[in-house]
């Protein structure tokens, strides 16, 4: 039965009408087969336009609609609503883009009008073949998994929990707190990092809606938006979580007391094999490091493990095993943070050659009053206060041979440390800073920078060619581009501010979660401006520096945003997904399985038919409508709803006629 198609052409003020003869186009449209009516309107997206469309649908009993206007990216949703209110299935609408694809890019009105005719003819050809589609609805399970317990993960968890969601916060180290817990003070306000962070850590621990899973890692994920099953491995702490009171007698007694390099102190301090990363750790439960503990590596610890003797609660249990648990949630937020580039591989900076070349994170632990030196800033080779400290910014950052990107926190963290060093060691200490550009872009940052500029600090604009270890001091050759002079700096302590890089397991982790990475290997957002917290996998969101380097304020904003985005899904009982999923024409399918290999969402499987032939079948809840299976199908059996081969071929035929 022939369709009754209505064509609606928009002037878009002058946007379309100045280059396309709209009246001529409307007359042309009426000549096309199955088109029963053709209307024009100044702004089709306005209330008047909507009324016109709805009334025309009723008057002419249309069963197909073509709207010739702007890109479907602008108003397809609007017009679907209008068509639906007119009494039609919203997917019997086809948009002919005669603005971005025509009027905006052509100068000659005659040519543009002819092209617009072809575009409309194509849209009508497709509209003849459009079918009514239903939007699948998915039941949404409440609750979310947040991966990573740094400030971003903490903020996202608290926001979700306050909105009434059950949150599972999974952190791979023994404590939450992340990088922020390692910092002394924060720029530009010089708030004590611990003082503003620890209350939030306590809030997480005490919140009735948050289940904290520290020393645990996500190992697998199944399902799709609204229905995720997340597998988590709880690593053995070898300390009973319930009975440990966190008194610390075990760590003092440990035979390896003060002999294991502390990761939390960035290698500047020591810990025992049984340890709490720092005094305010949450949860305040000790953990045995199985890679160094004598009992766990050699099966023997002197005459007997001293931690067991020391523990008043009998909490130590060497027989503890890793445990796998499975969580059912509707959404995930990934907040796995960043790594700091190891400058050992950058030989020109002398990090491998001299212990008096340290990183800014190492300096952070030296400045911190609860750090390994109790806040005494020392030159590692001598243990004395340095008389001259030189900062080198952009180590590996903004460097085509290492990391092309800016780390976004290097300049400000160095300026902050310089302020704190001056505060502790007095204004007499010589401070040099080798910078590329000072990027002080945030609120209050420029003012902080100006303040440091007014202090007794030598600024050199350029990149040192080399840090050269000498007998007493280090020397640095630097060409200052502001004075066009070559300087040789002699200094006691060099602080490198290295690039921020994706976690070393970022590739495997992204693959496991089926989310994308950008070229820099950070996790990829769905849109750099308008969907910065979304991934291309619906229901999985990203927060903080796992998406790209961020300072604390940006991480917190990003995390609250991610929580709000997740709540968009979690707050609904049912979630509507796109109807443009793949479907198999089983008569044509030979069961070759090519589509199964191509599907990134494991949505396709082979099913037996009664004659014993196997055919592919698409799980509608798992299919994301990416179309990868359609392209690889050798027989044309795999088709995407709304974009079937015959529908697309009709457009092409109409355009080239």
């Amino acid at each position: 039965m022939a369709k009754k198609i209505g064509v609606f052409i928009c002037y878009c003020g002058e946007n379309i009408a100045s280059k396309v003869d709209v009246k001529e186009l409307a007359t042309y449209a009426e000549t096309l087969d199955d088109v029963v009516v053709s209307q024009t309107y100044k702004y089709m997206c306005s209330e008047g336009g909507a009324t016109l469309i709805k009334e025309t649908i009723k008057k002419h009993q249309l069963d197909g609609v073509v709207i010739a206007s702007c890109s479907p990216r602008m108003h397809e949703q609007t017009f679907r609503g209008v068509v639906q209110e007119g009494g039609l299935n919203p997917f019997t609408l086809e948009i002919a883009n005669i603005r971005e694809h025509c009027s905006w890019i052509h100068d000659d009105k005659k040519v543009a009008t002819e092209k617009a005719k072809k575009i409309v003819a194509g849209a009508v050809a497709k509209a003849r073949l459009l079918e009514s589609l239903e939007t699948p609805k998915i039941q949404v399970k409440p609750g979310a998994v947040v991966i990573g317990g740094g400030i971003a993960g903490i903020q996202a968890s608290l926001d979700l929990a306050e909105a009434g969601q059950q949150v599972y916060l999974v952190e791979k180290s023994p404590t939450i707190g992340g990088r922020m817990a390692q910092l002394d003070k924060t720029f530009p306000t010089l708030d004590c990092s611990g003082c503003i962070l620890t209350p939030k850590m306590k809030d997480v621990a005490n919140h009735p809606n948050i289940k904290l899973l520290t020393y645990a890692e996500v190992t697998g994920i199944e399902g799709t938006v609204g229905n995720y099953t997340v597998k988590v491995k709880k690593k053995a702490r070898y300390v009973d979580f319930e009975t440990c009171k966190g008194c610390g007698d075990c760590a003092v007694a440990c035979r390896l007391h003060d002999r294991i390099t502390s990761e939390f102190d960035m290698g500047m301090g020591k810990r025992s094999a049984i340890y709490l990363p720092f005094p305010q750790a949450v949860p305040p439960k000790y953990t045995i490091d199985k890679d160094t503990c004598l009992m766990l590596t050699r099966g023997k610890c002197g005459t007997g493990p001293l931690c067991v003797e020391a523990c008043p609660e009998n909490a130590i249990d060497f027989k503890q095993q890793d445990e796998e648990i499975s969580l059912e949630v509707g959404a995930l937020i990934v907040a796995t943070g960043y790594d700091v580039l190891d400058p050992t591989q950058l030989y020109e900076y002398g990090y491998a050659e001299s212990q008096d070349v340290i990183t800014s994170m190492e300096m952070e632990r030296l400045i911190n009053s609860s750090g390994p030196t109790d806040g005494k800033i020392v030159q590692p080779s001598t243990g004395e206060n340095p008389k001259s400290v030189t900062y080198i910014l952009c180590v590996g950052s903004r460097d085509q041979t290492e990391c092309s990107w800016c780390c976004r926190i290097g300049c400000m963290s160095a300026l902050k440390q310089i302020y704190l060093i001056k505060e502790k060691l007095g204004d007499d200490i010589e401070i040099n800073i080798c910078y590329t550009d000072i990027r002080s872009f945030g609120k209050g940052y420029e003012e902080f920078y100006r303040n440091i500029r007014g202090m007794n600090v030598n600024f050199f604009r350029g990149r040192p060619s080399e840090v050269r270890p000498g007998e007493k001091q280090l020397t640095i050759d630097i060409y200052d581009t502001t004075t066009s002079k070559l300087f040789e700096i002699s200094t006691d302590l060099v602080v490198l501010v290295p690039a921020l890089v994706p976690r070393d397991d970022a590739d495997a982790f992204a693959k496991m979660l089926r989310i994308s990475q950008s070229a820099d290997r950070f996790l990829l957002e769905a849109h750099p401006k308008l969907r910065p917290m979304d991934t291309f996998t619906t229901g999985i969101f990203i927060a903080g520096s796992c998406q790209g380097p961020k300072d604390i304020q940006d991480s917190v904003s990003h995390a609250s945003g991610a929580a709000a985005r997740a709540l968009n899904i979690l707050s609904k009982k049912e979630y509507e997904t796109e109807p443009f999923i793949s479907v198999v024409e089983e008569d044509l399918c030979s069961g070759c399985s090519t589509c199964i290999a191509a599907c990134p969402y494991d949505a396709i499987s082979l099913v037996e038919q009664k004659e014993g032939n196997a055919v592919a079948r698409v799980d509608e809840t798992l299919c994301m409508g990416c179309g990868a299976c359609v392209v690889v199908c050798p027989s044309g059996a795999m088709q995407q709803k709304g974009f079937k081969d015959k529908q697309l071929r009709a457009i092409i035929n109409a355009c080239v006629e």
Partner: protein
Amino acid sequence: MTKVVFYPGCVMPTEQYAYEMSIREVMPKVGIELVDVKGFSCCGTPLKSVNQMVTLTLSARNLALAEQEGHDIFAPCSICHLGLSEAKHVLDDDRSMKERINTFLADENLEYKGTSKLYHTVDLLHDVVTVDAIIKAVKTPLKDMKIATHYGCHLIRPSEIGRPDDAENPQKMETILKALGGQPVYYPEKLDCCGGLLTANLPESALTKTGQKLQRVQEQGFDVFVDACPWCHRQFDAKQQQAAKTVGGEIAMPVLYLTQLLGIAMGIKKEKLGVQLNQSPVEKIQVGGT
């Protein structure tokens, strides 16, 4: 035997004979057969600041001549090696430039194709000959000899066109010298420039760079200073006393080409390696026969 086309350049055949002598002596004994080709010219590098097209054409011409033999190319002079590498980089990357240069070469019935790889002494020994073969060839190990290596700027920079070793942490010479039983030791001035290319415009600055580096090497108690570039060698060896005078100090540092020291460790007579042509106090080196 692996055949390579030997491209001597200008400095070795006119002045730095010892480098060529030691190469011709050592290479066949570690499995490298040197193929000589008639008609080579200057590599073109000295003209670079005057006319880049001429530079490129000269380099391409030499490469095209070598390619005709069907072997890879061995250019022991770091300056030539860089010039030829730059030409290869440009021509292999830019088709229209390659076509243009080839129209110039057509007069001599030559065509640059880009079929041969380019080697320097350091990567030829390290990557092609390999350390295992070198260890087998050693007859008199350089026992406990404390060696300072000098790579020279042209050999390792700029990395983006592909150089025989890393720009910031070159290690191939060290690996070779360890295979000879020697002790190459890191020193902070390792990557400092020889000063050679300043000679034309700022002769005193050139000698200051040379002298400062040798002074620091001497202070740190090295037995021998090893290089692999005729330009660098000229500074450190032939001009050592001039450099000492310029920096106002006494310098007596034996300087050898990498291939000379390799030959000594292989038990080859020093005379055959051209050691008598060196002007630094090489008599201090006890290992090996005359």
